[in-house]
């Protein structure tokens, strides 16, 4: 009974407080591999705090959509985060069919982000928006194929039972295939290497960073926070497939979840350290491969 009340609170607390830690861990990992000292672990928190206090300068071409986009994106990501179970605990909101809502909330965020990019009338931001919507077409197919594997495996249509069901089994080939596919989508949706490089700002090859060039001050702070949260939510989802075991004691399980999330960020940092960014024209092939992996997982279960 106690945990029924406290677990959703911990869930919400982690969802709100922890996301900026992940980019910090990623940067630290990359610095470590490169033999540098790197920025402090909590640097993303400092950045967001600094941005929220600043004044902002906006483009005179923009409308209300430009300012609404970061807010709507953050709100959609937050709601999506409430649908995914963290560790072995049920998500605060779960009902039949919430997986479709989960996927479409990111669609809502994308609609606003890309509209805001076009709102500035800059060719750079239009370019980023075009790439974002193009790649999303491929990655959404992969996500739903991956979720289809979980639906068939668990026999349920809600993220909580779907993601907690594989715990009962040792990971099977379909789950591993889906996990690989979803991991690629995770990298692509969060604009990490090999799809996009979050550190560059002036290459013609980037997606997310280029869409937010004209946002400044609190709006930029909200965007950075929102993208960290998206990374957090998607990582929490993929973790269920990669590490499907838990201890059984609530406190220990929460600690395990924290450790797993940090390890996940470390893995993403390692991927970024050892891989180069793909050429833009090869990205669709990578995303198609993600769809194929998930689809193959599904076929394996039907055979």
């Amino acid at each position: 009974m106690f945990y029924n009340v406290i677990n959703p609170l911990i869930h919400l607390g982690l969802l709100v407080a922890m996301p900026p830690l992940l980019p910090g861990v990623i940067n630290k990992t990359k610095a470590f591999v490169a033999g540098r000292k790197g920025p402090p672990l909590l640097q993303p928190y400092f950045d967001i705090y600094k941005l929220l206090r600043k004044d902002m300068v906006i483009s005179s071409a923009t409308t209300w959509i430009f300012q609404a986009a970061p807010v709507v994106t953050l709100a959609a990501t937050l709601l999506a985060g409430l649908l995914v179970p963290f560790g072995p605990f049920a998500a605060p909101i779960h009902f039949t069919g919430d997986l479709i809502l989960f996927v479409y909330l990111f669609g809502l965020a994308r609609f606003f982000t890309t509209s805001a990019a076009l709102d500035t009338g800059s060719s750079f931001e239009g370019m980023g928006a075009a790439r974002e919507v193009t790649f999303a077409c491929l990655s959404e197919a992969a996500v739903l194929l991956g979720l289809l594997v979980l639906v068939r495996l668990s026999g349920s249509f809600s993220l909580t039972p779907m993601l907690l069901a594989p715990l009962a089994h040792p990971p099977e080939a379909p789950v591993l295939l889906a996990a690989a596919g979803l991991f690629i989508v995770l990298l692509s949706e969060n604009c990490r290497i090999p799809v996009d490089d979050p550190n560059t700002h002036l290459e013609l090859t980037m997606i997310h960073e280029v869409m937010v060039l004209d946002h400044s001050g609190p709006l930029l702070g909200l965007i950075n926070y929102g993208s960290a949260m998206k990374l957090f939510v998607l990582s929490a989802l993929v973790l269920h497939l990669l590490v499907p075991f838990h201890i059984g004691m609530p406190v220990a399980d929460w600690v395990l979840f924290l450790v797993e999330m940090i390890a996940m960020a470390g893995v993403i940092g390692m991927v970024e350290s050892f891989m180069a960014r793909l050429q833009m024209r090869h990205v669709p092939t990578l995303l198609a491969a993600a769809s194929l992996l998930c689809g193959f997982g599904f076929v394996l279960m039907v055979r």
Binding site: V71, A75, G107, A117, G126, L148
Partner: protein
Amino acid sequence: MNIAIYIMLASTLSMAISGVPGLLFSRRSMTGQWIATLLNLLATLLGIVALLTFVSGGYHSENMAWPWTLPWGGFAVGIDTITVLFLMPILGVFLLGSIYAMAYWKQTQHPDNGRKLRFCWGLMNAGMMMVVLARDGVLFLMAWEIMALAAFFLITTEDHNPCVREAGWIYLIAAHIGMIALVAMFVLLRLTAGSFELWMTIPSSVPQGMTAAIFLLALAGFGLKAGIMPLHVWLPGAHANAPSHVSALFSGVMLNVGIYGLVRIGEIMTVPPLWWGATLLIIGAGSAVAGMIFAVCQNDYKGLLAYSSIENMGIICIGLGLATIGRTCHRSDLVLLGLGGALFHILNHSLFKPLLFLGAGNILHATNTRKIDALGGLAGKMPVTAGLFFMGSLAICGLPGLNGFLSEWLIYLGLLRTAIAAHVDTLVWISLAVPALAITGALAVAGFVKLFGSVFLGNKRSAEVDHAHDPGAGTLAPLAILALGCVALALFPELIIPLLVSAAHAWAPQMIASTASFGSLAPLQEMAKLNVGLLIGGTAFLLLLGIVRQQKLRAAIPTWSCGFARPVARMQYTGASFSRMLAQLFTWMIPVKPAVPPEGRYVPQPAQWTQDVPDTVLDRGLIPGFALVQRLLERFRPLQNKPVNVYLAYMLAILLLLLLALCF
């Protein structure tokens, strides 16, 4: 008592004659238009009364028949929940379109074609009403033909324009090919059932070949009307070239009539073969994905909306196919979710698509161009239209918070339920429509971001935008009402759930109890609560942002343009460049051809860049195909230009041949 039917027939009559008084008035007088609009209002009010009578009467279906003097059939009409669900959009869009036309297509400004437009407008709507009310094959076909012909005259309202004439011509051919298929289908139905009465269940003793022929003919006839790919060839041209309120009517209502036929055909066999549902599902998924790919590549905003209608009809067909499969496999959950989702999506599409087409009418009226890439920055000039159009775009992409999501969600849930079918069951493959639907959703976001972003956002791209402004309240009110409808259905789906359940019960009475509910299959109420939360939360967030903005805004300066000293609007990303990357992924499907300007030998020539977006089926398949047929048939031309005596010889020869044939 069949009060609902009588009132509905009175409403239909009022529609049919609404344009007639106008013919008697001067070409430059508004009186005729006022009378027509009042008659339309009367028709809609009568229709609403009839609907309320039907609903308060507990959804009991009613049938009436009168004899007539024609050799076949009779005047048989009926009303049941499925009919009612299709009547609602007809009545609503019809009235809103008439009101919109009061300002958009004023008789005083269009003295040449205003009277013709209104005459056919009323006639076409009355035809559609009769199609869904008819319970007799001959009456159905007559109403169908009235609808099809009136629609032709509506498309060709501006018949001085060659593009319009061509679009109308293609439509007329397509409509009549569909008509031939339907006549053949009704003849076969008559052969199996023994009468023209609709919509009877075919006895299971009928041979398979016969039922297959009926289904395929219905698929061709109704599919042509609904614009299912690859039978969509008439649709983009007709929608783009008709006046905008007519496009709204076509897209929001006329396509539905094709779907209506497919719904009824699913009903005529108690246990249809599996391939019926599978065919509907596959062509539905194909239409959805391909329709949206074509839409994304369009450079004409009305063309984009037209292709997006093909996409939505595809989504509806997926739901319908799922329901038909549910019938085959005795799965009441699939029937409820599939048919419920399809019918719900029809209602939703009849709200947001007219909204978008009327919004497109406002843009066209304000700027006089249909080119996406000639516009830009309209949100500042026409803020109300922009806001309403934005809402329509969100709704049509099926994004959470508005009504489009709920209906797509029902179809998704139905498809997901097939994923957990047993190993040996072919049903499990049906769930592969889920990723197709997901791709469609993502493509829709791409298409509508392109449309909204290029037309309303950014900087203006041409002088056409300079004098644009929001039209008057009379033109905006219909848009606002449609947008309110979108919100209302998103927040209170319980308004429509009983109708959906009752329709599913009427469609498959042996499988769905009249007391069935979506409750355990799809918690629509929960989702509606989340929608309320989303809308309230979103508004609160935005208000908060407004306050923050007041305090934090330092300056508004031009967009940073990578160091250029004097940024110009032409440097913006255009709609064509926005969709180029997607188009390149699908060049095998839609060969978008940019016309690259010739390079000068030493000095660059003045460059101009255009892009041609062909319709693969029409421009690459049918038109060359028909040209080939024409060339072949021209070989016979020498036979034709002959004196009379040669013709008499032909006749004799044919007669002899026939006599010979009789001998054997």
